[in-house]
Structure formats: C-alpha cells, structure tokens
C-alpha cells in the first residue's frame, strides 16, 4: 500500500504542479506574528507597529527611510522657542485620510486630528479614553503624559505644544510609531456609535496603505493608497502580510516565491540564503540589545548577590555561537556601541560558577530553588530564537543549583503579563526607536517605566536622577557624562544580564526593489516595488 500510495501522491502532485508567478504589484511579506491590534497609540512591539504605524499611518515628523535622521511628515515645518519648551508645527495641506467600507472622510487632515491624537495619549479623562479605556505605555514610558502639558490648535493648520521640562529628544519621539496621527472625525463617529473600541480593529490613517482585512494568525491585506500625499512612494497595488511564526517556514516560502520579503531569518539559514541566486540578503549593523531581565520586585531577585550570581553563571559566548551563529557581538551595556554616550570602560563580570555558588549561598538561596525563565514565542531582531537561548541559560543555571522553568505565552499575552510583573526572569530586548540614549536607559530602566517597558521593575533613585537630568539637558557633552555614569550604576546593580547586539539581516527576493532596512527594526514598504 505504501508503494501504491506514493504513486498516487506523485501522480497528483505532478498533475497539480502550478506556477507561483504572482499578480503584478502584489507584495507578500512573511511576517513573524499576529498583531494584537491596529491602534499604534497603545502598542509596544515591532510586530504591531509594522502592521499599523508603518503601513497605514504617518507622524508629524518622520525618520527618513533607512536613517535615524528626521524629516518633515504631516508637519511641513516647525519652530522651537528659545527656552526649548514650546514647539509650533505648521501642518501639511491636502492630506486625505483613508476611505474604506467603514469610514468615508468628509474633510482633509488638520489640526483637530493632531490635538485629538495627543490629548488621547496624555489625558486619562479624555472622553474617548473613557469609552475605550487603554494604556498608552510608550507615551507614559517616555513621560510624555506628564511632560506634554498643553496641545493647542492655533489655526486649522497650526498646532502648538508646550512641555513642562526640556526634552532633548522630543522631536525624535514624535517620529516614533506610537505618535501616529489618528483621524478625529473617525474617532468622533465611533464614539457616537458607541464603538470606540473599533479604533483598534478598523484603523484609519493617512499612510501609504489602506486596511482591507485581517485574518488572525493567517494574513493581513492592504490596498495601495492611491491618494497618498507623498506622490511616488506607493508603487505597489497590494500589500499582504502572510503571518508565518516559524522562521524555517518563512524561508521555505521565500525560496518558493510564496512571499517576497521575510522577517527575521534563522541565523543558521543565512549562509544558504546568501548563496541563493534568487535572493538578496542586505544587512545592517546592530542597533539593538537583547537581554535577560531580573524582576527585582520579586524575591529573591531583590538581592544583588542573587542577580550577580545568575549573571556570572551565564555563558554568553556559547549563546552567541549557538543562537546567533556568531552574527552578533556580546553586550555589556544596555545600549549598542553605535549609540552615542556608550560607556566603553565597563566590563562584564567574568563567568565563574564557583563564585556564583558562593554568592547564592551567601544570599541564603538553597540548592534546587525553582524560578521561572520566560522566553518569548516570536523572533525579534535582538533574539532570533528565545526558546533555544532559554534552554542554554537553563542549563547554565542548573550548574549553580538553580532550576529554571521555561515559560512562554503568545507574544501579545507575553508582553501583557510581563508588564504586570508575573515573571521571575525574562528574555526581552530593544531596538532603538530614535537614536537618543534616553530611548535605551529611560524607557527601559527609568522609574516611570515600571509597569511599562521596565520589565526588571527596577527603580534606582541614583540612576533615575541621572537620566531625568540627562533628558532635560540640551548640551550633548554634558549628557554623555550623565549617561556614562548611569551605565556604571546599571552595571553595578545588575538589573539585567545584557546578552547581545545582533546584526539585522533582511532576506528578500531579487525582484524586490527599493526596500530599506530601518535602523529601528521596523519593516516599512514606502517606495518599494517589484520588478
């Protein structure tokens, strides 16, 4: 029967052998996971931002493709007052919001939309927030909710923003995904219809692609925005995200032409990809850090000795060889060396099993103590295989008598639970958003960010004072000093074990033209075309 069956299979497979030529102008992107929603204001992960902010939305200012430099977006120009506290934006005219089956705009983009967007991010009592309660973790991690004290419409195409304290990176922050501009008209309609929550499922933006449909865990479909305000940036007819959590499946699909661009290749496949004549594999030096957070709000991780012991038991080099296949450099600091203010003088504690055991003993930790080690379910630029990394750390810790249980959840759930502090230790990481040191130290380690991106829940007064001061200083040399000192404190207190800064590779088929790797780890399809 085996023989017969094989014949049958062969026969039908050959009979059905079909070409994989794709419709002209349809680009398929093999993405790594389902977004939790399409409202960039409330999201934190690159998976979410790729699917919403990068495809369907615009910001007042934006990063030039492939660069960390900002350029005008929905604001044509802006003025900053002498005290660095007031910003006045002149808005672009003739920008249309998307027309879809669920919304037909009656007016063009104007100051009301900007005011709505930022009121929503900063005012808990804003009517829309009452109707659709949500956290805005990014805005609050960056202290925007407390620092942005006024947003005023001066005239329909002028908006003024006032800050409480100087924020050296304010404009950069406005270019980040979470600051994407929503349509006030659409939101008002939703509010009236009692469907405010739809803002997360039926997005309306001004960006190059228009939302068409989303099938959870399967695909997201977008149509080109033929009215996009930056003419010539939309060269595709359709954009499809094929949600494919498995890196090897993404690669197989890329090889077979079932998708054109893929997210996050498995390091082990890179060599084969680079020699494949059908593929291009551009790369970009690291602007990310992968690390392990110790939840200091839980026992016994509140004890420095415990964190030190766990830290020095980890074999970082082996991880870089096995998980990254060498395409990464060991990380010492929270930020990568290419970030200005990186403190070159710091060193990792040398790996030392005996000393780690002694430290644990001193801290009164019994052998065989069980802890949880969280590993994210998706690939990230800073960590291509968290499960594998977790198994290695588990093995390293077993040698000092710590039994780690590996825990994982679906990505959205992982972040949600981690923000609630349910973990003991967790693997996570960061890709820089705006090129400012505060984006590493403030967002991930500041006291404001506990309950947000500060997964170590580490709030150190000495450290926090330095970064708060750094944020409100405009003199760069001064800031460098403050941040270098902050990194020294970080290294002394070990809220994380920093693991690696990895090189980002973006495999795509040769017919894809004009794709630029974002230094911020986002995937956008502005100006991309198919040959």
């Amino acid at each position: 029967m085996n023989f017969k069956m094989r014949n049958w299979v062969l026969g039908s497979a050959v009979a059905l052998l079909a070409g994989t030529a794709s419709a002209a102008g349809t680009l398929i992107y093999c993405s790594e996971g389902s977004p939790t929603g399409f409202d960039p204001s409330r999201q934190v992960t690159g998976t979410d931002f790729d699917a919403s902010a990068e495809t369907m939305f615009n910001r007042l200012v934006e990063f030039a493709p492939g660069s960390t430099q900002i350029r005008p977006g929905l604001a044509e120009k802006w003025e900053v007052s002498a005290d660095n506290l007031t910003y006045t934006f002149t808005l672009r005219k003739g920008v249309k919001f998307h027309t879809t089956s669920y919304f037909k705009p009656t007016r063009e983009f104007n100051a009301d939309d900007v005011v709505f967007t930022f009121k929503r991010l900063t005012d808990k009592n804003f009517p829309f927030n009452k109707a659709a309660p949500s956290d805005f973790p990014y805005a609050s991690d960056m202290a925007m909710d407390t620092n942005l004290v006024a947003i005023e419409k001066v005239d329909p195409y002028t908006v003024r923003m006032k800050l409480k304290a100087v924020d050296a990176a304010f404009l950069q922050n406005l270019a980040m995904s979470f600051a994407s501009i929503h349509s006030a008209e659409y939101a008002e309609g939703l509010l009236k219809a009692g469907k405010a929550a739809n803002i997360n499922t039926q997005p309306i933006g001004t960006g190059p692609f228009v939302f068409r449909s989303f099938q959870k865990d399967a695909n997201i479909r977008y149509d080109a925005n033929k009215d996009f305000w930056r003419k010539g940036d939309v060269k595709l007819d359709k954009l499809i995200f094929a949600i494919t959590p498995d890196a090897s499946v993404r690669y197989q699909k890329l090889q077979k032409g079932e998708c054109h661009v893929m997210a996050y290749p498995k390091p082990a496949d890179l060599k084969a990809m680079q020699t494949n004549p059908k593929l291009n594999v551009p790369s970009q030096p690291a602007f990310n850090t992968g690390w392990l957070s110790y939840n200091v709000s839980r026992k016994p991780f509140d004890k420095l000795e415990v964190r030190q012991a766990l830290d020095m038991a980890i074999n970082k080099k082996a991880i870089i060889d096995a998980v990254f296949q060498g395409a990464a450099q060991p990380a010492t600091n929270p930020m990568p060396p290419t970030q200005w203010s990186y403190n070159k003088t710091l060193k990792d504690a040398p790996m030392d099993v005996e000393k780690a055991k002694a430290l644990l003993k001193k801290a009164g930790i019994a052998e065989g103590t069980e802890i949880t080690l969280w590993a994210m379910p998706v690939q990230r630029p800073y960590n291509p295989n968290a499960k594998l990394m977790a198994e290695m750390i588990q093995n390293d810790w077993a040698k000092i008598g710590i039994k780690a249980k590996i825990v994982t959840y679906e990505w959205g759930e992982y972040i949600k639970r981690a923000k609630a502090g349910e973990h003991d230790t967790m693997l996570i990481g960061w890709t820089g958003d705006n090129g400012d040191p505060d984006n590493w130290l403030g967002v991930n380690l500041g006291c404001e960010a506990v309950g947000g991106n500060n997964y170590a829940r580490w709030c150190n007064k000495e450290f926090d004072d330095l970064i708060v001061k750094g944020r409100s200083t405009t003199n760069q040399a001064e800031r460098v000093k403050l941040y270098e000192k902050a990194q020294t404190i970080f290294k002394r207190e070990v809220p994380w074990t920093t693991i690696a800064h990895s090189t980002v590779y973006q495999p795509m088929r040769k017919e894809v033209q004009g794709f630029k790797i974002s230094p911020f780890g986002l995937n956008s399809f502005y100006g991309v075309s198919l040959k």
Binding site: D246, Y251, L388, N395
Partner: protein, 308 residues
Amino acid sequence: MSTPSNLTAADQAANAAALSYPSPLKEFWQSFSANRGALIALIFFAALVLAAILAGVLAPHSPTEQYREHLLTPPAWVQGGSLQFLLGTDELGRDILSRLMHGARLSLMIGVVSVVLSMLPGIVLGLLAAFYPTWLGNGIMRAMDIMLALPSLLLAVAVVAVLGPGLVNTMLAIAIVSLPSYVRLARASAMTELNKDYVVASQLAGAGKLRLMFNTVLPNCMAPLIVQGTLGFSSAILDAAALGFLGLGAQPPLPEWGTMLASARDYIDSAWWVVTMPGLTILFTVIALNLLGDGLRDALDPKLKKLA
C-alpha cells in the same frame, strides 16, 4: 499475567473431561508465540524497557548535557558525523541517542502511570455500573458519554489548558480522557458474567457484593481489560507526544519524544536527523505496542479475534 485463575464449576467440569489440558499460562504462551509479529514486537518492547531502565548506564551521554562545540552533528554514518554521537546531536549539541533512551523512560512512565490511573477507577466505576444498573449505573454511563463526546486529544488539550502544561498534567489529562473506554469495557464484560451460573451460585452461597465484584466477576473480565490496557498504553504514548509537540506536554529540558519534535520544524531542510529520529522511535514503539495488543487479544480471548 492474571489470566482466569478462578476455577469455577464449569471449568472444573471441562478439566475433568480433558485431563491433559495445558495450564492457562502455557496455553496462552503457545497461542501468543505462534503470532510472529507479536513475538517480534515483544522482543522490541523488552529491549526498549531495558534501554529505559538502564538508560543511566547505557546512554553514552547525559540527556541534558549541551556539547556546545558539537551543535547539529549528523549521525555517525553520515559524512561529518562522529562515533561520539551515534545518532547525531540537536541544536544545543545534546546527544540524540541518549535523549531517546532517557525519553523512553518518560514515555514508558507516561504510559504506565496513565493506564493505571485510568484503569483502576475505570474498573471500579464499570463494576459499580454493572452491579447497580439503575440510577448509579445510568449516571456513570451518562458521564462517560459526555466525555466521549469530545475527541480524546481535544479533551486532553482542554484539560492541559486548564491545569497548565507539564509532565504530570499530561499524564493526568491522558488518564482522564481514556477513562470511559475502561468503564464501558468493564461494565460490558461484567454484565455478561453476571448472568452466568457461577456468579449466581456464589451469590446463593452468600458472597457479599464486594467479594462478588472483585473476587468472582473481575478476574473473569480481565482479558479484554488487559488488551485494552496495552492499546491504551500505545495511545497514551501517542497523545503525550502530540501534547509535547504542541508545547503543552512535558517541558524542556525533559527529553520527551514529542517535546523533542516541537522545534524540529526548524530543521527540516538542514538537519533531517533531528526530525527523523524521535519520530521513528515513537512510530516503532507504537507499532510494537499495537502488535503486542493484537497478539494478546488473540491469545487471551479468541472470541474477540474476529472483531479485528
């Protein structure tokens, strides 16, 4: 093997008629060993049990030791392989052969524990249902119908979803989902026995309900239950592996066979041995157990043969 040991009046009469009648055990063995497939399966299974018990001694390496210089080494007979790792290593440099041997322990343990955990309560419930066929029996059988309304793997998935993933919960879930088959079988065979003369006789002789249940009726129902146990063993191994594969079963670094396959999808095009070895082990084990079950059934209860 607890073959019918209660020589009842009827049996004794038969024995008297044929004095040279072979002992039940011998008869069983003769009939079993005539089945070549079952015999080979028995040998394979014995070897597996041995490997599992002696894994600590026989396995060339520790199942969790990560040889980080030897990631994804191919099996010894393939170019690039080494004799140090006969079946190759996985993505963390762990020896696959050693993991499979230690994994045999886990799989056999899962099989034994879940079969025992479902067979014992299953027998008790089945006998109760047979002895008290009115409301208690009906209640029990209705409850079993409910459990049978869900495909076993789905029910196991639901149970694990509630209890959380892990080895113990896997065994528990499998035991729960296989309960109905034992209850039904025990009840059905007990019902047939209940009408037989020897039961009526011992009832008249004043045997209590408990004695009647466990000493008189049960031994005569054991044959189909043993067969069911063997088959349950194989499906327990399959279900546990499926749960492990879905990430809901035994958790790393435990070398459970299904768990070993959970990340194998990643190595389809680069390291076939990571995919093939654990799967073949599961397949052979399950085939052996099914053959063994068939052989046992034929040998223990020729009546069931035609139901094959």
